[in-house]
Subunit: 347 residues, 4 copies
């Protein structure tokens, strides 16, 4: 029997309306590189959703690529990017940022989050250092919403980061690889409009949020990303059939689909968390979005892995392991039921 | 009325069987990053098609990305890549190769082709130069099959390039962005098996040859591309949903589809060329694959552009222009008929 | 009255015998780029001093340049370099390593030193991580001898690092910008022969150790640094008048000058430390070489700065500051006397 | 008997007054990294010599390093640098410009010179190309004065290049590795003041013009090179003992030494050229500065090489070779006499 998989949120394909639309458009010839009318329509819808009529919107293929391209476009050669040490760019992008010539300046994190005050202290110390011209200057702040720990920045936390950025002339960039799962979460109070108000650039994740592939980069001020088309091309991030990305975001931003698409994941994750607690499991920490982190004994971890696919997160201590379940936009009630039944049985 | 478009070969979506298969697989959870069974199946089929049972096969997203990643993987930091001056990497990749730190060593071309003897002369001169250690050493040869001019390398021309590469310890890399149009062409005598026998690495183009997106990198010797997974990731070229690429190549390599898929393009191009000649148009040069290059007066160019989309290629002289028509795997007999009728009318 | 300066160890020019020799050689024509007989002589002497008859020896201009060039030569594109977080490459090289495309993997330090066990743990965790192919692989270990804190690695500590490097196939590279001050120190038990036995590459510092400029890169195994001449050139690190560097190392390695040249610095530093302790000052930590770190009240720091030049090291707490005195090969007994007299007066 | 050497202009050390001054300053402690008063004095003298009171002046170590650092500082990531195909950055810098991520855009040269009209045509074509956003944009023009062929740009030729640069918003950068030999030449009409008026950045060569090492980068507009100190550091091009460079330029710009220092080279070269012509040798082309290019039979080349050191330049035809003699600031009348006597004897 196939295992139930809660291993990640990129395991399924695309929302059915997207596939359907791809089918409809399939043999209609389109101009290349995102110059088509479908991309234009998708851009217009995103601008409306972000309440940001002049925003610059670009469609790229994947997350690491998007981060490397945007960071390269925003930084001067002598600048680096501040991130939580747990940030995706710091650990899991195979050095893509450094391959572009930029240092990743990792600060300690709290459950995946970067503290505005810590950024302030870092910058204050840096700019007061008489040797600062021998060092990599902080040029931007990178955060992900939600974070790699499934936690959320509140609107006021983002505002605090914005204030620090303003104080030290840093750019603020939000990686929204899983943004739909923030937007669908009750505890979230940072809307697309807030992101557009506070960020220099952010991206709206497609790959993990209902698209086959694709991420939408949004620069609220159209002067921010000069010559970005060429920079995207230079990074190998420009799709010939740009309309394939356009179609997906055009669908995701029709009838507020993107705002709703994460709801099944959030609902499932909530049920899993409640069930875990009720059955006496210990959560590693509280994460309100589509990722659930549980501390199991090594034996339970081993046993569970025979019927369920999940991610190893980290060793907790010699005899315990932290594992991660991830739900997605496509997670069904039935799949959740099956997981709960296994968890209950093994409790 | 919409114009007839012969502007490029990436204007349509995917071969219908690919879209169908994507629909079938859509909600079946797959592991990430190309570790799934569909990718494994596609790899196995490609190995068979190339008669190369141990080949290393990787799926990337697009052409520039593939070139930048492969070239970076094959070259040492002090080496550069030899190409025809008309090569895609030399002109139309926005400096992606140089962004990876490598010089593009452009030699003169003849209808888009690089001459083995010219490569030999270049290397002979280089390695005899007493200042060669102050210079970028040639480390590989890049050619595209078919070329940007729609021309083909014969098997013996590729063998000659291989011999030069062997003599000077260069890698040979073939960019097959349009490879299906070579394979479907009567005049082509270089099979997939030949490419696998002669190249260190080549890629089988998907984007322009019936896939929504995707290119299949083939290294016949599995020791050639060490740590390529990480290098791909570092280049932002690793798709989370690798199976989306796998599905496409699994279909393209079922029932020899890839060997057949270019045939409508070649047939259409042949009809267009014959009609052009019959109607007194002047071909810029002979190109046997899916691209046709015609010399028109500037007035005819202007007039034609009102009903047909095509590409500007270059100025021929003050009063004439070279334009390009491109057919594709999806070009229909009806579309070709319409173009011929326009061309006849305007002759 | 001019202040007494103990601000750094690169404030004076060159050892007098070097200047004299430069004068003697000045108008004798030499071939370029280190191909001259003086460089050959200097290389031969260094090989003897290191007890390493086949070592590859290269002369570069400065420390950051040498680190960036050697690290680039030793690492594959997907690899990073492990260092103590206090390491020069991590903080004070303006991102030169990242500009070459490599991540600096900073581990916690203890008084500037990297612990072999910590490196072992890091590597063990890394190579056990199922996501390691998405991450920057450790490819080498960088340490400086003495460290930025003036501390020393013992021979057995270096052996322990070598063992970890062997276990995980890492290169070991020692930055010897201040190596003469280690070699002149009683507490040091790691000789040039030990460095040659244990390192893949190390460099013998000239700039801070009696030369006008210049660092000598030593690779005990001549197969280690393939095509290094071209890599040096590509980094802008190849001096046309290479003999100017050769002359300096030829003098520094005549009559064991390099082994003796740090002695005045060590003797002066020892006197300063003793005087500080006798006069009730508090050392920040114990450093046996030519750098002395003292905790002063902010007021004392301010007062002292009116007659003595020193370096600010870091804030100790709200009311105290750590400052650094550095002695050099050129520090005279008289200069030390003057500093002691000021320190005594202010105690 | 030692051969007479006319192999290059970097074979001797420094002008005697420089060595003397280094001796005088040797043990006077200086602050690091060019923040000393000697560098300040040298900068002031250079500003006066260039009639450019606000110029930004930086001292770097060598030519390739200077080119790589300046070009990196002036270009955006998506831009490349236009040069004559014979330019030093195009051929003899081991890919240093590409290692910084920038394409070198090589145009045909005439005796080492770049024609303003050719640059104009290139830019006009580029900016009219509908695919230009897929291509590397020209961002600056690099020329050397004198060129690698010993030829000179006239003031009006430089003005023409400036006009093209203005028309297409390109930076103009002049590599003055051998600038003293232009300034000492009768045929030169482009003064330091002209360079300061016409260039965005230029550098005044020290290494080949009387210094032990060092090049002075001049940016007439102090806003041109933002954060250049850190960029220099990142390139490994920042000398700890910056005053060593400062001393040299302070001497070279005392009493107009730099304007005079090339005169012996020019006088010697003129004598050599006249003697060659009188003795029936054939000059390869006319070069008015310190490099002389002669066409010899292969036998004569071989025979001459037994008593004289010179450079191989290129093969002329199967039986003839072009060789180069280079004179320098330190070439004596006696050395020239000896060469003339050999040439006469072999004529």
């Amino acid at each position: 029997m196939a295992k139930i998989s809660f291993a990640s949120d990129y395991q399924e394909g695309a929302h059915p309306t997207i596939l359907e639309r791809l089918g409809t458009m399939n043999l209609i010839k389109q101009p290349g590189y995102g110059t088509d009318t479908i991309c234009a329509s998708a851009r217009a819808k995103i601008r409306i959703a972000c309440n940001c009529p002049h925003a610059d919107v670009h469609f790229l293929v994947g997350g690491t690529q998007t981060n490397a391209t945007v960071i390269d476009a925003l930084l001067a050669p002598y600048q680096g990017v501040i991130t939580a040490s747990s940030g995706h760019i710091s650990i899991h992008e195979a050095g893509a940022i450094e391959a572009g010539g930029h240092k990743v300046l990792a600060l300690p994190h709290r459950l995946g989050k970067l503290d505005a005050h810590a950024v302030h202290q870092y910058c204050k110390t840096f700019f007061a250092d008489e040797n600062r011209d021998h060092m990599v200057a902080p040029g931007m702040v990178y955060v992900s919403q939600p974070t790699e720990y499934g936690t959320l920045y509140s609107r006021s936390e983002l505002e605090a980061l914005r204030n620090v950025c303003d104080a030290y002339q840093l750019k603020l960039y939000v990686d929204g690889a899983r943004l739909a799962y923030a937007l669908a979460c009750d505890q979230n109070d940072a809307s697309l409009t807030d992101l557009a108000r506070l960020c220099d650039v952010f991206y709206i994740g497609g790959t993990k949020c209902g698209a086959l592939l694709g991420e939408a980069v949004v620069a609220p001020n159209p002067a921010t990303l000069q010559h970005f088309f060429t920079i995207v091309k230079q990074h190998g991030a420009l799709m010939a059939k740009g309309w394939v990305l356009g179609v997906q975001f055009d669908e995701l931003f029709s009838d507020d689909l993107y705002l709703r698409i994460g709801q099944p994941a959030i609902a499932s994750a909530q049920r899993i968390r409640e069930s875990l607690v009720q059955n006496g499991y210990r959560l590693a920490f509280d994460s309100p979005t589509n990722q659930i982190f549980v501390i199991l004994t090594n034996e339970d971890t081993q046993r569970l892995s025979q019927t369920v696919e999940f991610s190893f997160w980290e060793k907790h201590d010699a005899s315990h392991t932290v594992i991660r379940f991830a739900t997605s936009w496509a997670t069904t009630k039935q799949q959740t039921d099956m997981l709960l039944s296994v968890l209950e049985r093994q409790a």
